[in-house]
Symmetry: C2
Subunit: 254 residues, 2 copies
């Protein structure tokens, strides 16, 4: 039975996709069978693992009841598969709104393939709309990337409220997997202030691993590569490998 | 009659709010009367000009037909006012969906105050949903911040398609105000590659002014200050002042 984790934060550009792709990659490197689900119409996670213009996407699973096993693609990385996104997903938020059980569409869809993977990672769009709510309903936990900048802290309260609301209604088992500090730059006072504030408030929920600002993480997707493989010895890649270890250790404890 | 400009890009974290706040600030410094409208439920533009927890927001204008003149607040910066956002705006996308003329709500609301300002800047959320569509319908033009990174280029086609669709249906006068390269770092190959690609494709629509990655732009909001005032001689502030000059020059030509 796979552990399903949603990577979410409504603040834009905080590293959700970079974390989804590189955590998936690092877990695959440690021989876990991983499925990455791209729930963002921007389809950045899809291109981030080198997949171009898929003909069927997660939209078909949510709206046309196509089984994910017919849409899932292998990537160039062993142990890592992707349920890709595409521009058609833009319509899903509006179309889902009028359907009975609209929050359960992803959970119902993944049920048929959940036994085939050890970890399923859900990359969410920068909003708390129906696609992200679907991810919260389908997931066992939520991992929240937080950029070490001022605006990124402001939305955390609302994100936690949204998680709690889903826990109280549609998914009683939903937990906080952890808070990940991203684009950390130890030379910047702002980064230190934000990370201290986040650790003070979220205490042990914050990963020890912090992801530094590292250019090779931003370069990797332009080559259709995953950062942890594109430049394995870089500070960014190493940080995601550390994160994967911490993620697996936390999983053994619970 | 105010010139109304939407600052939009569905990619998250590319500098929409930083551009909205600092372009507004730079225009106000050159004695233009400016209204900044915060259309993002995250309310970053609202806190970016130092306004905390406003009791009425743009939500009341869109949903409860409250006149903007009763919601607009002055900021600590002369010539700059704000129509603030708040968490209640989260509900607007879903609530608007079922209303007749849902795309015209903002345009209709702003009509009563458009004579009071020379420029109105609309900060959009990271999505092409109903709030951004409302901005496209109300605006004369769209200014698109593009971060000098790989993922930021991917969504530009879809953004332009959305602008064209609104031009063909609800707002025939809608134009592209310009493409602004943000978080530019001349030392990075990736930034040079992306900026060359964007200039090749969008030609003269790309501003000469490029906004460098500059920490004081990210620090300013934590003090409730606008970058162009917080650290006026910084490279970031100077770039936004250059942008404002170019913006005003372009306006005179058309
Ligand atoms: N640690 C890092 N160091 C350097 N660049 C990074 C890092 N993490 C992410 N980036 C870059 O920053 C930009 C934003 O990251 P990313 O797209 O992963 O964020 P996101 O939260 O998924 O954005 P969105 O809200 O649009 O979905 C991307 O161009 C990415 O390549
Ligand atoms: N030129 C710059 N130099 C350094 N930091 C910047 C610059 N522009 C923006 N930032 C910082 O980068 C982060 C993202 O910028 P901003 O919030 O303005 O983007 P956005 O597109 O409005 O994001 P969202 O998609 O969430 O609305 C913020 O923390 C901001 O302070
Ligand atoms: Mg993303
Ligand atoms: Mg913003």
């Amino acid at each position: 039975m796979a552990k399903i984790v949603a990577i979410a934060n409504q603040k834009g550009g905080v590293g959700k996709t970079t974390t989804s792709v590189n955590l998936s990659g690092a877990l695959a490197l440690s021989q876990k069978t991983v499925l990455l689900v791209d729930l963002d119409p921007q389809a950045n996670a899809t291109s981030g693992v080198g997949v171009e213009r898929p003909c069927t996407t997660v939209y078909d699973c949510l709206m046309n009841r196509v089984s994910p096993s017919e849409v899932i693609l292998s990537t160039g990385f062993s142990h890592l598969s992707i349920l890709p996104s595409g521009a058609d997903l833009v319509g899903a938020e509006v179309e889902l709104a009028n359907i009975q059980g609209r929050e359960m569409a992803l959970k119902d869809s993944l049920e048929s393939i959940v036994e085939n993977y050890e970890v399923i990672i859900l990359d969410c769009p920068p909003a708390l709309g129906l696609l992200t709510i679907n991810a919260f309903v389908a997931a066992h936990s939520v991992l929240v990337p937080v950029q070490c900048e001022y605006y990124a802290m402001e939305g955390l309260g609302r994100l936690m409220t949204s998680v709690e609301r889903v826990r109280d209604t549609l998914n009683p088992g939903l937990e906080l997997e952890g808070i990940l500090l991203t684009m950390w730059d130890s030379r910047l006072t702002l980064a230190r202030q934000v990370s201290e504030e986040v650790r003070k408030y979220f205490k042990d929920s914050v990963y020890q691993a912090m992801i530094p600002r590292n250019i090779s993480l931003a370069e990797a997707p332009s080559y259709g590569q995953i950062g942890v493989v594109y430049n394995a010895t870089s500070a960014g890649a190493q940080a995601y490998i550390e994160l994967a270890k911490e993620f697996l250790n936390n999983g053994e404890k619970s």
